[in-house]
Symmetry: C3
Subunit: 387 residues, 3 copies
Amino acid sequence: MVTTQSFVDEDILKRVPRWRDYLAAKVGFRNHWYPIKLSRDIEEGQVVQTMLCGENILLKRIDGKVYGLKNRCLHRGVRLSEKIECYTKNTITCWYHGFTYKWQSGEVCDIIAVPDSKAIGKRKIKTYPVTEAKGVIFVFIGDEGYDPPPLADDVPPTFLDDDMTIFGHSYPVKSNWRVGAENGFDGIHVYIHRESPLVANTSRSLPLGHLTTSDAYKIVDEAPGPKGVYDDFSKHTSFYEGKVEGRVVVRGTKNPDGKPRRTAGASLWLPCALRVDGFPDGELTQFEWYVPVTEDTHLYLITLGKRCQTDEERTQFEHEFWNRWKPVSLEGFNNQDIMAREASQAFYGNDRAWLEEGLIEEDLLIVRWRELCHRHNRGLQLPEHLW
Amino acid sequence: MVTTQSFVDEDILKRVPRWRDYLAAKVGFRNHWYPIKLSRDIEEGQVVQTMLCGENILLKRIDGKVYGLKNRCLHRGVRLSEKIECYTKNTITCWYHGFTYKWQSGEVCDIIAVPDSKAIGKRKIKTYPVTEAKGVIFVFIGDEGYDPPPLADDVPPTFLDDDMTIFGHSYPVKSNWRVGAENGFDGIHVYIHRESPLVANTSRSLPLGHLTTSDAYKIVDEAPGPKGVYDDFSKHTSFYEGKVEGRVVVRGTKNPDGKPRRTAGASLWLPCALRVDGFPDGELTQFEWYVPVTEDTHLYLITLGKRCQTDEERTQFEHEFWNRWKPVSLEGFNNQDIMAREASQAFYGNDRAWLEEGLIEEDLLIVRWRELCHRHNRGLQLPEHLW
Amino acid sequence: MVTTQSFVDEDILKRVPRWRDYLAAKVGFRNHWYPIKLSRDIEEGQVVQTMLCGENILLKRIDGKVYGLKNRCLHRGVRLSEKIECYTKNTITCWYHGFTYKWQSGEVCDIIAVPDSKAIGKRKIKTYPVTEAKGVIFVFIGDEGYDPPPLADDVPPTFLDDDMTIFGHSYPVKSNWRVGAENGFDGIHVYIHRESPLVANTSRSLPLGHLTTSDAYKIVDEAPGPKGVYDDFSKHTSFYEGKVEGRVVVRGTKNPDGKPRRTAGASLWLPCALRVDGFPDGELTQFEWYVPVTEDTHLYLITLGKRCQTDEERTQFEHEFWNRWKPVSLEGFNNQDIMAREASQAFYGNDRAWLEEGLIEEDLLIVRWRELCHRHNRGLQLPEHLW
């Protein structure tokens, strides 16, 4: 293997010793679980091509379970997806020379053009561990022989709770995944949401900015379990009047009945998930992921969770998700974030930007997140893993 | 700052010691004045985004005066122009977190989402000196703390004369600025203009080529004042018959009344301006600029000057500029230069080209220009200045 | 000359010592003859622009003979083809300053804008040896002063035989030339052709795969004469049943009358030609070239040869070529190869791919071909030759 050390120049990396690995993680961390599709996106027998952390992957659902294979024939390197040939339920055949692989093991079980080849039964293509939970398909991007930890270690707490009902949708975004994560967790970017339809649709408060305090946030990094940074909004200072040169020029929205009906807190979790408590409305929780795809794109997978005890509650929530929250919040509120991330990418797409940004004290939690990632990631996705 | 030494490889630069800095000046020289817009392009209160020598700049006219700011928020690096928010006459607010800057000083005077931030009043964004003359807006691309010289040092002599009336227009060109400058000053490229509508429109002569002589040109580089190379066409040898294999195959145009009614001279001035005396007609002077924008584009800003003593003369000249010279000369003659420059860029866009070109003796003044630039530029625009 | 050592990183090249030069030959080998056009593509007096092994070339037919010139003026590097000016039969004039070149010698014979220049008669542009045979125009890409060998050394045996009548057509392909050559010679890729219209159109057999044996192939590399690898299909083992998990899932085509009416053999020749004996039908021979154009494109020039003794036979074959073989075989069969090559390019376009491919024993002849190229090429096309 001809190895490139890193995507990012070592001279730049050594300038940020406390979060070096985060800066180096241009296409994500290795040996973590990532959501890649919603379960409804892959039906029984369907073969779906996707890219995760720069790796080309084929997924197929067989007897209900989803399997993942590297989308590259080991013989001449062509994409199996160029022309999909599945002669049997459990195999996929390369269109070029007929190399046939088992979905379950990646093993070459037949070669149509060379039926007696010694390669049969000996060589194999990389397989990807896949699991499903809450209607979401998760893939493990890992090293050969690395034993995947439980999914629970890589998703925000409460997501897997039995009574948590989840619905979601995903959006492609033209920015690096880290730009996505930092935008989501950023306490002062709320300024861009002041004209969101969500504000009028709910009777929530929405300040122009809110600042964390030293007793509001908490680093969660005891082993085992998920690693994250939690920020309790109830202890924040919020601002509702925006002044320029001493004059109020823009106002936030205050709940008309006077109660501070607003988001309760936000937390960011390895490898790339945000949980927002009490959002988009009091009894809901938003779980969203910034899934690395390429250096300059990520999949923005948004889910809403609600604790439901009965089928009726679940049906009611499903209806509400599709008819209220998807248009008003996922698309009316979070699309403003997509615009901000894509605009930020022009800057952060240049590695030097991370040295020349001008963070202020109120960006403290962003820095804590970077440091947490540096300490607790399970490996770096490197150029040699990619193609 | 992680510094890239130069746009051009040092191995190539050291091959041309007499004009090294010129070859290195891929996006122009630093600490010079450049025209960037015509005054009519920015109205009172209007915010205009532009790029000059690779730097993203925002311009606004306030109470008649134009101010320039770096088009990048110092916080998270986004372009202010992504969504322009000007709450007060003298400020611009970043759409992302509400960082608000004074146009006059670049100072952060407010942050909407963080009204009490310590950054307020302490940090500032880069400002650009701007001046206007003869209906043209000039911006100074300079180092922090570099005191701009008078505009007169960076424009061709006579341009600023009191009775010189100027009208102009600008065109984007897909070539490096140096390819533009050399095309304009080149005494033998006149061959491409033999079928220009300008020739029929005026009763001028237009040879197929004309060669300078040692007593025809002059290097102007006494300090202070503008630095340039002047070429007196009256001392040139001109050719009106083009021969191939001994046979005349193409002819230039000779003024029918026998008088040598033609361009009187041309001169090229730092940082990037050409003056053509007696062009496009006897009593006119063309002043034109090849303003660096990116590595492979420049702004071709063409102006015509005429000495006018009365308002009537000025009005008459204005009418003539728009109705005669713009279509017939700026677009009928100089568009042929644009085609030639864009065709040359395929070659000169490769840095090695400058070592492999085959200049001939008649290109002497091009070389003198390169040497002059090397000796008298006030600094190099480098990669670290750009983004 | 600022020299880049190679297109391919030395660390990668040294990993394949037995075929290093082949891996390095990204845009082909130097000092070889290449077909570039069919004779019918250039009529008397016509000037045609083309690219071969990354070099920009102009061709013109003068009094029946084709001449080749570098398509770059030696003065300012512009393409002569930007605006072609040919004032006399034997010359071409650069549109920019009137540099005029003799097609036969490349010599500057006149400069329209500088009639007395010392460069006239002294300087010259590169010329390319051109020859024609069998209705195909061949150009020699060679070093200054390298004496071209006979064309016969660079084409497959029998192509130049007196009674061999040739017709052909060419297709642009978006893959490197080596991917083309290996696809053509590959004995097991026949799997992709199982649904070609050619199979139904002829009464030929077409297995799903066929394997060479140690006594079936022959390395031809005695000096002088063409160098190649010959594979005799009559000694191959062929497979007509494709099995997956023990079940026949796809079948090849067996000649219904039981006779093995099929391709007799294939051979691959330096610099980039394949001969297929008995293809697309018994009495025909296919000669095809994978002509390097750029790093990731080649010209796929396909010709069919048939031994004809009379004009009537030739006319009959010409009719058959255009009305049967071109649609059914060149386009019905070989277009499947084009798809496979373009799909392979995504992999082999990355130099590391050549170290990470997974060739199997049955790819032995591909490796022999690489080694032959390494031993017998006459030079490498390098970055410095290209522009």
